[in-house]
């Protein structure tokens, strides 16, 4: 697609600089540039732009988006700011912009940002799925890896995994990755990043699936502040249709912050003949503070044998809360795949494990369609 760009930027030097970048970027031409917003609104239509780059940090701010939408109903609006602010980005998207870019930007960043929103629509449709477990060894890393693959395969939309199990995250081992950049670098740099540049911190593992790996040593946990983690999640929303987040077991600042940022939190445990139902009950009690708990908190049990509707019903009754999905015991397959670093690609698609993961993926996709439909 050819982009005819209208640039509205209040700073004279920045205006010149960005105009140059736009002109130097393949597939982009500068249709017009204005330092004054009223000029841009009154005169720009003559040049028939289809992409508007709008300085949002000037008088009028967010309100300008609405003005530009009225005058340029068919053009896409990309807001520009000096630094990334999750709130600004999110507000501008809610106000009708397609995305948010940090200025000054390079041609590559402009291209990537436009690619991202044209692929995704906008962050409004992004779902953040957090996988919480009361105790460790719940099978959540296995589930996340496989679910991410299923979601990407079924929707052909981008899926991101964040390994926020900050001390002992296993995602890198599961996918046999030796990451150059991890969540530590990503949160360190979010201040300077825009969504497009953040995407390079994620490691691609399969078509449409990328992973942001966890910390390499436990002491790095101190480098990931909660505020920055929240920022990272918010920014990732404009990169992926689905973000799957692996968090440390139990209630801790990380797992709580991720759950608060989630569209859906899956509370999960592995059946091992102990007290896991009791632990799940106690964990669910904490989520009762959420007014929308019933729609937002889902439960999953892993290693359920026999893995049938009757077991599911029994578990629901014992738990006193609906069980969304049960995953069968496939210890040999799972440990073998993890040992080979082929967690999500080596598991046979016709195995009972894959079937259950597929069902869960359908459930998530179906629900989102309903949400989108309701919102339209």
């Amino acid at each position: 697609m050819e982009y005819r760009v209208l640039l509205a930027e209040s700073d004279r030097l920045m205006l010149e600089r960005l105009g140059q970048v736009v002109n130097d970027t393949p597939n982009f031409t500068l249709a017009a540039k204005f330092q004054n917003v009223s000029d841009a609104l009154g005169q720009g239509t003559v040049f028939n732009p289809n992409l508007i780059l709008l300085d949002i940090e000037q008088p009028g701010g967010m309100g300008l988006i609405d003005e530009f939408k009225k005058v340029y109903p068919t053009a896409a609006i990309l807001c520009m700011g000096e630094k990334w602010q999750a709130e600004n980005a999110s507000h501008s998207v809610k106000a009708g912009a397609k995305g948010y870019i940090i200025k000054p930007f390079t041609g590559v960043e402009l291209q990537e940002t436009v690619d991202t929103f044209s692929r995704l629509g906008s962050e409004a449709g992004s779902e953040t799925l957090v996988f919480f477990s009361p105790k460790g060894k719940s099978g959540k890393t296995t589930l996340i890896a496989n679910l991410a693959m299923a979601l990407a395969r079924k929707t052909r939309e981008p899926v991101g995994i964040i390994d926020a199990d900050l001390q002992f995250g296993d995602m890198a081992v599961f996918f046999n990755l030796a990451p150059q950049t991890t969540i530590v670098e990503a949160v360190r740099d979010t201040k300077f990043l825009s969504p497009a540049s953040l995407s390079s911190y994620y490691m691609p593992v399969a078509p449409n699936v990328s992973v942001l790996c966890g910390t390499k040593t436990p002491n790095m946990i101190d480098k990931v502040s909660i505020h920055r983690l929240e920022n990272l999640i918010a920014m990732s929303r404009s990169l992926f249709r689905y973000i799957l987040i692996d968090v440390p077991a139990g209630f801790n600042p990380t797992s709580i912050a991720a759950a608060e940022a989630s569209t859906t939190t899956f509370v999960m445990s592995m059946i091992n003949g102990g007290y896991e139902i009791d632990h799940m009950k106690r964990a669910l009690d904490i989520f009762r503070d959420w007014e929308d708990m019933e729609t937002r908190v889902k439960t999953i049990f892993t290693r359920v044998e026999p893995c049938d509707s009757r077991s599911k019903l029994e578990l629901s009754q014992k738990l006193g809360y609906p069980v969304t999905e049960i995953i069968p015991n496939e210890y040999t397959i799972v440990s073998d795949a993890a040992d080979k670093g082929k967690m999500a690609t080596d598991i046979r698609p016709d195995s009972p494990l894959s079937r259950q993961v597929d069902r869960l993926a359908d459930n998530i996709i179906g629900r989102q369609h309903r949400i989108r439909w309701a919102a339209s």
Binding site: F168, T217, P218, S335
Partner: protein, 277 residues
């Protein structure tokens, strides 16, 4: 000086791991029971504060928990008598005491690491052995516990590579903390469980041999959880119960006859280099 008795601080054994579900609770409850059976004064502390299973595994219903003790400490300072906040476990003639985890999660969340360490110091004044069950992570509380422990039982299992990776991170971190070598004791649980990874490989990777190896006796372990009775207190015995007794004997220096461990013959496989190459 007549009548003077030197204050004695008991032994603190912390059960720690960096992989979950390795058997910390079953091992700590059994060691507590075995030490008590030998006539020692024993307190088992459940510092898996949120989802601890000590009370579950022993099927006791505590009236007081570490949260109550923390509140009392806030009011009374060092005058508090920690032993008043314990719950006894009794089976036949064996008795030991439990400092239970809080009942409510918000209470668990609000246990302060320094206060918790203070509880252990209080209990050391009263008991020969204070055993501490923990969560699988390097938290502030766990680091304080590692510091004040006489012995750290670092537990692991050999099942699949993510677990091994986390054990390696755990032992490396413990080495960095520079504890005396014989303070940290590597214990392997469920050694004959089904896996393709050899124990020798893991020992090579961790850079030291396991101090003690416990067999996989899933049935005995789950039966003991169902009954609420530690294996070592059961007549008839079990393979795991016997191995746990041996472990206690080694900790208390009752036996020096080291059994030669069976080690699988292992060739170094590519997974070693995959994690740390």
């Amino acid at each position: 000086m007549p009548g003077f008795t030197q204050e004695i601080h008991g032994v603190v054994i912390t059960f720690f791991s960096t992989a979950s579900a390795v058997g910390k609770t079953i091992i700590s409850t059994n060691m507590a029971a075995e030490l008590a059976r030998q006539g020692k004064k024993v307190c088992l502390v459940d510092f898996d504060l949120q989802f601890g299973d000590v009370s579950n595994y022993l099927q006791i219903l505590p009236q007081c928990t570490s949260f109550d003790l923390q509140q009392a400490m806030a009011l009374q300072g060092s005058n508090v008598r920690a032993e008043e906040y314990l719950t006894p476990y009794e089976y036949h003639n064996v008795v030991f005491y439990v400092l239970a985890a809080p009942t409510k999660l918000e209470e668990s969340y609000n246990i302060d690491a320094d206060k918790a360490a203070g509880m252990i110091r209080q209990l050391q004044n009263v008991f020969d052995y204070v055993l501490v069950d923990t969560t699988s992570m390097f938290s502030k509380l766990n680091l304080e516990l590692l510091d004040l422990s006489t012995i750290v039982s670092f537990l692991g299992i050999v099942d699949f590579i993510p677990t091994i990776k986390n054990m390696k991170i755990g032992t490396d971190t413990l080495k960095k903390l520079n504890y005396d070598k014989n303070k940290i004791r590597l214990i392997l649980n469920r050694s004959n469980a089904k896996t393709r990874i050899s124990i020798a490989d893991v020992e090579n990777l961790l850079g030291e041999p396991f101090y003690h190896i416990l067999p996989n006796d899933f049935q005995a372990a789950s039966r003991s959880i169902q009954d609420g009775v530690p294996l070592v207190l059961r007549s008839g015995g079990s393979e795991l119960g016997d191995a746990l007794r041996d472990l206690v004997a080694r900790y208390t220096n009752r036996a020096y006859d080291d059994v030669t461990m069976d080690e699988d013959e292992g060739v170094s496989e590519s997974w070693l280099s995959r994690i740390f190459g």
